[in-house]
């Protein structure tokens, strides 16, 4: 019921007018989506997808105001429920003051989005994508909350590289982030018997450099992030020393075609201490994907990608340590506000997207899945 009330609230805000309201410099934008999953085997993303599940609702509302030429303030409120993760509560997705000294230098302070690869800072914004699920190897929908934003600051800017050199865009950030109390990581820790009065948190810093090359439509870039995590609960602790994640990516857009790919490496070694038992967890994530899409008609876009994840620190022949996902997708825009998506997944391996709590009878190593999503944005 609470979820329904929030959705109704969001839709009431929308009904003020279908167009984004512009009261002097104040802008209001938003979106609301409803998703559906059906899988041939296993329950995916904590939803009872093997029976068909529509327990996936998401929405956000964004307010933006240009206070002066150089100063802009804004906030985005986000809610999502996906199976057993997320919840009825509204999360501040980002909230910041943005002071742009000039095109080469600007500062944001508050809760700022984290640039990591091509899509991390925008991954919750469904209307931006053809895909219902972004490549799960790098953007796991059930465990995305931790990397989305930091409470701290960001420096950003763009440097022109001469008439034939393109442009270099940079962002660097420092701050603190914490696990979503209703997110996938907290549920995984609960699976070990660890609960926390306040969600584990840590210090994060990193940056992103992307080169908008002089070859029209081609962008190359790299991101890096250092992240630590600590939490203490009645049953024990979790401690993760600073871990470095590195990402490399490229995207190319030409006419109706869009091509992109990323490679991420993320080794981390959290240690769980439950009473007197110490459980070291060693993970060396290697993940990559290539994707291609084509604007078939004015309102219809189709595409495909292959998502590959493997934990090199474990036995990679075991399905639990890899995930390979072939995906085909289509999106139809009814108009500039309403859209629908349909997506097929051919999943191999169980390394991503499955929780023990919703798969009590164990997991099959392969599964197919059909996803559908409708959305509204303004």
């Amino acid at each position: 019921m609470t979820r329904l009330r929030i959705l109704l609230f969001l839709l009431c805000l929308c009904s003020i007018g279908l167009r984004a309201q512009d009261l002097d410099n104040l802008q209001i934008h938003g979106f609301a989506t409803q998703g559906f999953l059906y899988s041939s085997q296993n329950n995916y993303l904590t939803m009872k997808s093997s029976s068909g599940s529509a327990q996936w609702t998401e929405g956000a509302i964004s307010l933006n105001d240009a206070v002066t030429d150089k100063l802009r303030v804004g906030i985005q409120l986000h809610m999502y429920q996906m199976g057993q993760v997320g919840g009825p509560g509204i999360i501040v997705d980002w909230a910041s003051g943005d002071y742009k000294v000039n095109d080469q230098l600007g500062f944001r302070e508050g809760k700022v989005k984290v640039p990591l690869g091509l899509f991390n800072d925008s991954q919750v914004v469904d209307p931006l994508f053809l895909w219902i699920l972004l490549p799960q190897c790098n953007y796991p929908a059930d465990n995305r909350d931790f990397d989305l934003a930091v409470l701290g600051g960001e420096v950003y800017g763009g440097l022109p590289l001469g008439p034939h050199g393109g442009r270099l865009l940079y962002r660097g950030y420092l701050g603190e982030n914490w696990l979503d109390a209703n997110g996938g990581y907290v549920q995984q820790l609960a699976g070990y018997g660890l609960t926390f009065p306040s969600p584990p948190s840590g210090r994060a810093f990193g940056g992103d450099v992307r080169w908008a090359t002089p070859w029209k439509g081609l962008t190359l870039g790299s991101s890096a992030q250092s992240q630590s995590l600590d939490g203490t609960g009645p049953q024990g602790t979790v401690h993760m020393p600073p871990a470095l994640l590195v990402a490399y990516y490229a995207e190319w857009k030409k006419g109706r075609w869009y091509l992109a790919g990323e490679y991420w490496r993320s080794p981390f070694e959290p240690v769980l201490t439950i009473a007197t038992t110490v459980i070291p967890v060693v993970v060396d994530q290697r993940s990559w994907y290539p994707m291609v899409s084509y604007q078939l008609m004015h309102k219809l876009q189709i595409g495909t990608y292959y998502s590959h994840y493997v934990n090199k620190a474990a036995d990679t022949s075991l399905p639990a340590n890899y995930s390979k996902d072939w995906v085909v997708s289509g999106r139809y825009d009814f108009n500039q506000y309403f859209y629908g998506k349909l997506e097929g997944h051919f999943l191999h391996g169980t390394g991503l997207g499955y929780s023990a709590a919703t798969n009590l009878n164990g997991l099959n190593s392969n599964s197919n899945m059909l996803a559908a999503r409708v959305g509204f944005t303004f």
Binding site: N25, Q27, N64, W94, D103, S122, L128
Partner: protein, 146 residues
């Protein structure tokens, strides 16, 4: 002479009113507030201003892009000077808005409303069809990238 000029204007107007049909880059004028001291702008600078990667004119003055909500002039402008379709352009700005990196440029339903705003707002830059009388604003020359 007056009749043929009126017919030409009418034909040009019809060409521009028909979405995407026949209108060319030459049918679109770039207009700025009269207080702006630039007289020409490169296509690259236009693209950067309208995609949000540049907030100043070459002379250092503030650049405030404004948009039409739709129509052939809007499509032609985006196609020739930004390199986007209207959908791609909207998506580009939605991404900036929803990630906290920018505010959508102000939009106008008519060229007259856009002209009125550009005329009254220092730094404003917009685009209109050549049939519109641009007396209250300054028309700038578009040059190739150097």
């Amino acid at each position: 002479m007056k009749t043929s000029s009126a017919i030409r204007t009418l034909l040009l107007g019809l060409a521009i009113l028909a979405p995407g049909q026949g209108a060319t880059a030459q049918d679109v004028m770039i207009v700025v507030n009269k207080g702006t001291s630039i007289s020409e702008i490169t296509i690259g600078q236009l693209r950067d201003i309208f995609t949000g990667t540049r907030s100043r004119f070459n002379n250092g003055g503030r650049a405030l892009p404004v948009l039409l909500k739709g129509g052939a002039v809007h499509e032609v402008f985006l196609h020739h000077y930004v390199g986007d379709s209207p959908e791609e352009f909207r998506l580009r700005w939605r991404k900036a808005v929803f990630t906290g990196q920018g505010s959508m440029p102000r939009e106008f339903a008519t060229e007259a409303a856009m002209l009125e705003y550009v005329a009254a707002t220092p730094g404003a830059i917009g685009y209109v069809s050549r049939v519109v009388d641009p007396q209250a604003v300054k028309v700038v020359t578009i040059t190739a990238d150097r």
